[in-house]
Symmetry: C2
Subunit: 497 residues, 2 copies
Amino acid sequence: MSHYDKLTSHYQTLSHFNHAQAMLGWDAAANMPSGGSEARSNAMAELSVHIHRLSTQPQLEEWFGNAEQESLSTEQKASLREMKRQWQQATMVPEDLVQAQSIAGSKCEHAWRTQRQENDWTGFEKNWKEVVALSREEAKIRGAALGLTPYDAMLDKYEPGTTTASLNTLFTDVKTWLPELIENVLEKQKSESIILPSGTFSTATQKALGLEVMKLLQFDFDRGRLDQSVHPFCGGVPTDVRITTRYDEQDFVQALMGIVHETGHARYEQGLPKAFAGLPVGEARSMGIHESQSLFFEMQIGRSKPFISHLSRLSADAFNAHNDPVFAEDNLYKIYTQVEKGFIRVDADELTYPAHVILRYEIERDLINGVIEHTDVPALWDEKMKAALGISTKDNYKNGCMQDIHWTDGAFGYFPSYTLGAMYAAQYKATLIQNVDFGCDFDMAIQSGDLSPIFQWLSDNIWTQASLHTTDELVKRATGETLNAVHFRKHLEGRYL
Amino acid sequence: MSHYDKLTSHYQTLSHFNHAQAMLGWDAAANMPSGGSEARSNAMAELSVHIHRLSTQPQLEEWFGNAEQESLSTEQKASLREMKRQWQQATMVPEDLVQAQSIAGSKCEHAWRTQRQENDWTGFEKNWKEVVALSREEAKIRGAALGLTPYDAMLDKYEPGTTTASLNTLFTDVKTWLPELIENVLEKQKSESIILPSGTFSTATQKALGLEVMKLLQFDFDRGRLDQSVHPFCGGVPTDVRITTRYDEQDFVQALMGIVHETGHARYEQGLPKAFAGLPVGEARSMGIHESQSLFFEMQIGRSKPFISHLSRLSADAFNAHNDPVFAEDNLYKIYTQVEKGFIRVDADELTYPAHVILRYEIERDLINGVIEHTDVPALWDEKMKAALGISTKDNYKNGCMQDIHWTDGAFGYFPSYTLGAMYAAQYKATLIQNVDFGCDFDMAIQSGDLSPIFQWLSDNIWTQASLHTTDELVKRATGETLNAVHFRKHLEGRYL
Ligand SMILES: [Zn+2]
Ligand SMILES: [Zn+2]
């Protein structure tokens, strides 16, 4: 057996344990009663140890060395590159640091759940200090191994190839036009009247409606499910994708668009190439590309006028409310494109969302690179929120720097993925509407209710490409250029001005 | 670290992988869409390989040898005995035989699913021949290792300590009185009129009713759930027990009593001692003892008059049918104690069920011991069915020897557990109603709606005892004697005559 084949077989074995881990994680969020959590945590920790052991098995180094000498096809070379990337990621950081991070992160995150509610920065800061220190250590070690700055090495975990230099350029550009755009849109929307949903929308009916919308989006129910969890997510495995949502019986609009978003993640997973099942090269390219799919579904398809026309019809049917003005196309469109300055990222609309991300990016970049200290964060947050959205978070930690879970356990480098995803999604849309070969009007396809041509393009250009190419290559092949924020700006101006 | 401690830690590690396997199995039955099955099978097969590897790790032999020299408490000795038992069970049969059995069993079972429907004995026989041959080989190897006859060695897998000699005595006794009892009961029931449920009983309402009944039976919802699957079962882990049922919208009585049955299995699991969590000594004693709990819940509690009074009230409430005579106490009691001679074991009532089991026992015993050949089975089945229930299965394989899944993949030795369970359950009940210390009338406790004294007895005598004692010791401690079929006979005569 060639060393390439040995590696392939090894990573397929690993994928079976990852399958188990993914399902246990989904079940813990969607089904598990509270009494089951201790034994579940132990089982998942044991699986993690085993997965880590397989991921860092000593003979892998020799196998990689030998496999690189073997004569391989282009696809096999890509597969080898991605296996090696995962191996490097797994072996780069010493085990005792990983363990220390896991303990400090769990402690900080657990305490944060009450500290946030109590606006207790002093208590949080004591635990977070350790998390930041360990993440800086991790970033230094990764940076040294990869020849990158500390923060770039953290970015590399989620967005291989993305650098501070490129993000600075992208985000500096956004900052030149976004604040004014927000002001103009707010001014424009001032005069609009919206009728907000109120009253009882039963969970069962909302779920039935969600399933209808998933059908429209061609979710493959033979290879996936919709369930409920406190924090919506897309989990499972490509042959069995488990998406979740959270229902509010007072309002259906958020859960419904949440389902559209998670369906985007799900179709990417369902569309990954079977030929590379279980192998790193067959996995999603990056967090940003994953988000580009969910946000393409949510922002480019989901909040488009023709799609909202479907939502209007389907939701009025579901709630048996054909004469209720809430469900009128125009009104629903206004609801789904309403812009508001707010404290909370997860509640932010499409237009103000990038401001939240850029603020976090600038702070975590400087924090990991040692330019600022963790105690500087609240003041910086307040200052940047005032600059971006004109609102102050002074002494309001719970709605400021303590609002997100990401930093509590050291996931520095993740936030940019959200806005990268939004930008990629806008760029795909621009390509789709310009492409003569596409042979189909984007809005018309949505309006017709048969979105197949759009999904075919995504499948050909993104889903089936998995990790065969670098992110830049992937996007260039799909759109003719690497990431270009002008499409995002045009999209926002087109929709909101 | 002592070798005893090393073994303890090893078996706890093993339990984490078993946790994963149990949950994946439950999910496959309760949630998984069909497209997910191939990857799931692969993941579960990989976990099996890993579990087998851990179960048969070469250094275990030395650890067991050394641990037996260490000074241990009585409970530690029991724990060591049970770890060693599992190790012996895992190492006893050569891996290539296990693999051959797995392949032949899967092939036979898979083909059986259509062959049964088509009454195709000839087709089935061709695959089954191999399954029987491999099981005989397994039985011989186990027998040689344990110093038992081949069939006794198979019994030992499910019912450690139970022998052909003891089963022959028990079942020969039953055969002296059961046929006449059945005739007398049928004669008595002839004149009774029963109103059968008909019409639509929605799945949602049936589930809500099932949950009410589980509450009455003090199922711990903080450590378990009720879901749906094609074949009802009790799965999961002791801290998170997953029971399932199957609903028929034309009739609610079977699903409801099925929930009572599975709740019995579940409470045994939920009641296992935390001090031995993850260790073999902390697991259920045997299949027969497990069934003694489900059948105690189903037959001793569930079909008792005071419990059926609760079911009458709760189901009439649930279906909003207070004046419907179907739900009257007397009528429901008649439904739940109706006796009928039938072909199918899983549809059999409490009274005729043992006849189905004894027939299977006699055939599988002789088949595994080489007294008969697999081609003799249909004729023997016909002959024994005529003797036991006066019905012929000549040429009716689908309702005869091809009806059960058990033999298709070689689970010979399992069937006796069902009737052993029913007998143990009757013996517990006899102890409970005779025991002065119990200080509570059995029927009164049920009638009051607070069944705690009954559950306390089960917890003290069965659940918390797990595998600390042999089955005989367990039953003797609980009831003052080893298994005595007279209690079963008295119970049946008391209820049905
Ligand atoms: Zn997302
Ligand atoms: Zn059972």
